[in-house]
Amino acid sequence: MKRFVIGAVSALVLGASAAGAADYPSKEIQGVIQWGAGGSTDTVMRSVTPHAEEALGGTVVMQNMTGGVGAIALNHVAGQAADGYTLLMGAENPLLYKVMGLGDKDYSDFTPISILARGTPILVANPDAPFDDYAGMMAYINDNPGELRMGATGPGGLPSVVTAMINTVEGKMDVISVPYDGDGPALTALQGGAIDVMPAVLGAAIEGIRAGKMKPLAIFDVAANDKLPEVPPVTDFNDAYNTYLPWGPFFGVFVKKGTPDDVVAKLADAYAKGAENPAFVELMDNRGFSMMGISGAEAEAFLSKWQQGTTWLLQDAGLTKASPEDFGIARP
């Protein structure tokens, strides 16, 4: 009896380690979501993963691991075995960790499975604000220096990048930057009049705009968006934005670098299929995200281009702790 038990257990253990990619996945896969339950990363991952599970023929158990602006989750996955059984489900900001002094790891320690979608930033204002478009806002700031309250979500967040872009293109704005811990709370404050202007991702603001609870000033893209065709792109006001746009936050699934290629291929294939699901596509469209669904070399190229552009933008705006140069990130 005893020998049987030992035999069975060792067979199980050996079986698991020797199985490799041929019958991957032979056990549950852990999906570590970098952000809290109910956030947009959480929603996106929980809605694409069931479709990917079908294609993969395995189970992905998702858990939220918050804290340290997502660095806790990233370091956790980086500390697991590179066997494809732990996925990192995250957003764009780890690419800024190094220059912001938030950690010494970023997506260069990971292999992208799929960059699912990209968001578009939009500048929105309280309906009572004394201006109706981007040009009006800039004129107001010039006439009333230090009076306009602009929402922010901490260094490295989308608003800080958009603000850095405006400062670089138009010269330094004299505004009050009021920090919130996410674009949801900040947009709530905007509707209550605690802040006047907020750079946010289109999907978070779209319903508020439709209801007239906030007014759009400009889309931070090179062309108008299908969802809000009447809102002008910021490049209509100033050509200089073409250098930095299109830019936007994104969502992606990653595994630790060193994961066997066939496992990566299998996962990439599953998530690509999952991202094509009509229900998921509709969800992303409703929230104003542009589908990407890229992987492999294309995804790597996208990541490094994103990192170059954004880190240097923040560096030039004086918002970084360390220069991108220190980490071998070349100026674009």
Partner: protein, 506 residues
């Protein structure tokens, strides 16, 4: 007419009715076990109900939510371990009752009062949602800050032993809440360059440690003493008891709805504020507060259940979550192809009335399950302590781990468990620590937002307060409550009231 039909959807479809019931039943247990939270349960349900229609999915979630908020009171009363943060105040008077063998009565009153509070919350949601959400939006950072200060003044009513020890404990709680990377500037605070401290200290870990592990260690002192036999003959409170507490429960439910509707504050703060309110307005409780006063059960339980209806108000009218659970439900609505936001009430009024109907049903189920399963629950307290204590410890560990899947939370939980054990021995109250942790971010973030908005100018800051009626009222409330806690006021009041009291009694 459509509204009525939508409202009745849940009552006419047995499948939905069953799901609400199932959810409520599960919710009571999820709420009762410290470490299993409604937030967790609902986010797991998102993947689980992914392929379902939206009505069944929402039915199940609403059931869990309603049941879970109520369930937290069970372990608070029976074991002095609140199953959820919103039940902290319930332990203060519930556990003394269980020690007397009156857990059955305590649970009965709690259940009926939760039911009444739940209905008031739902009623306000159904009748006045747009009005309340407009009011909630008026709260500026400085108002949230004043609300936090108001909350911190509760330290006075939570420290029955020594006020100065309570003040120490409250300040300690605020400091604990500040540990880790500041979410607004990413500055490290009290991290001492340790990776363990980076993510901050989970508030649930502090709560489980201070109430769970330290309570279990305390119980070791009389491990061989027989458990208190619980009388469970009279569970449903008499009509006169309910009538007697009705005025108080109306007041505390109002507190619950408003605090629940404010984005950024939830049932935990509502329950503590309601407890404080009860202590203030109840002139002659049958038993003193902290010793098993019924009012001490009525207030927090009506408030946290009415906060459920409150939390749905900004969610349904504006697409803004009123708390963590409604945040996840908004995500669920997205996944099911709806667009929660200010237009939801216009585009899909049926959804609103369906949710109101499901909440009503969940509330009824809560009453049924609350009053029927008591025997089983009281058996838990009658278990030999030698088994109960190790199990509480194990559950505390797993629960602390489950909050954020993090081992450091387990270490924090154990650390605060040992610390809380000594605090109990030396007469430091634990309630204010938890209060401080809950309010820390609310106070800190909003103070900074408020003062940044006024360009760091204190003159402009106070000018802003007096230019807004809401802020002025809050500031006056802060001052009045503060003054009423100072010895000077107590003496003055005694002086003024003395002759009249003598006249009445004489």
């Amino acid at each position: 007419m459509d509204a009525v039909l939508a409202f009745l959807t849940v009552f006419t479809q047995p499948e939905l009715l069953l799901l609400v019931g199932l959810g409520t039943f599960a919710g009571v247990y999820v709420g009762a076990i410290p470490g299993l939270s409604v937030t967790m349960a609902v986010s797991i349900l998102i993947s689980f109900t992914f392929s379902w229609d939206v009505y069944p999915a929402i039915s199940l979630m609403i059931g869990i939510y309603m049941g879970g908020v109520y369930g937290g009171s069970r372990t608070a009363i029976l074991l002095n371990i609140p199953g959820a943060p919103s039940a902290i105040a319930t332990a203060l008077d519930g556990y003394p009752l269980a020690k007397r063998g009156e857990a059955g009565t305590a649970i009965g009153v709690t259940t009926v009062m939760s039911f009444i509070g739940g209905f008031i919350g739902i009623g306000v949601l159904a009748v006045a949602a747009p009005f309340v959400s407009d009011f909630a939006l008026k709260f500026q950072p400085r108002d949230y800050m004043l609300l936090a200060v108001l909350g911190i003044l509760l330290v006075g009513s939570l420290s029955s032993g020594s006020l100065i020890k309570g003040i120490f404990a409250g300040a300690l709680g605020i400091a604990i809440g500040a540990v880790g990377r500041d979410p607004l500037t990413f500055t490290e605070r009290f991290t001492f360059d340790l990776p363990l401290m980076q993510g901050g200290i989970s508030f649930i870990a502090v709560m489980i440690g201070m109430f769970g592990v330290s309570e279990a260690l305390m119980q070791l002192h009389h491990v061989n003493k027989d458990a208190v036999r619980q009388k469970i003959s009279r569970i449903v409170p008499s009509l006169s008891t309910v009538k007697k507490h009705l005025p108080l429960s109306l007041q505390t439910s109002t507190i619950g709805v408003v605090i629940g509707a404010l984005p950024g504050t939830g049932g935990d703060i509502a329950a503590l504020m309601a407890y404080d309110h009860a202590k203030r307005v109840t002139k002659n409780p049958e038993r003193p507060f902290g010793d098993g006063a019924m009012e001490g059960l009525v207030a927090p339980e009506t408030a946290n259940n009415s906060a459920v209806g409150g939390a749905f108000i900004p969610m349904m009218t504006l697409g803004i979550p009123g708390d963590a659970v409604t945040a996840i439900m908004i995500g669920a609505l997205f996944i099911h192809g709806l667009n929660p936001g200010p237009m939801l009430m216009v585009d899909q009024p049926d959804m609103f009335w369906f949710i109101v109907g499901a909440l009503v049903m969940a509330n009824v189920f809560m009453l049924i399950f609350g009053l029927t399963g008591i025997k089983l629950f009281t058996k838990i307290v009658e278990m030999p302590r030698a088994v109960l204590i190790p199990l509480i410890m194990l559950l505390s560990i797993v629960g602390a781990y489950a909050v954020n899947n993090s081992l450091s939370d387990v270490y924090w939980m154990l650390g605060f468990g040992f610390f809380g054990y000594f605090m109990r021995h030396y007469g430091y109250p634990l309630g204010p620590v938890i209060l401080g942790v809950i309010l820390s971010r609310l106070l800190d973030d909003n103070w900074r937002r408020a003062i940044i908005s006024e360009r760091e100018d204190l003159g402009r800051f106070f000018g802003g307060i007096f230019s807004s009626p809401l802020s002025t009222v809050l500031l006056i409330a802060v001052i009045l409550i503060f003054v009423s806690q100072t010895p000077l006021w107590t003496r003055a009041k005694a002086h003024i009231l003395k002759p009249r009291n003598q006249g009445v009694q004489g």
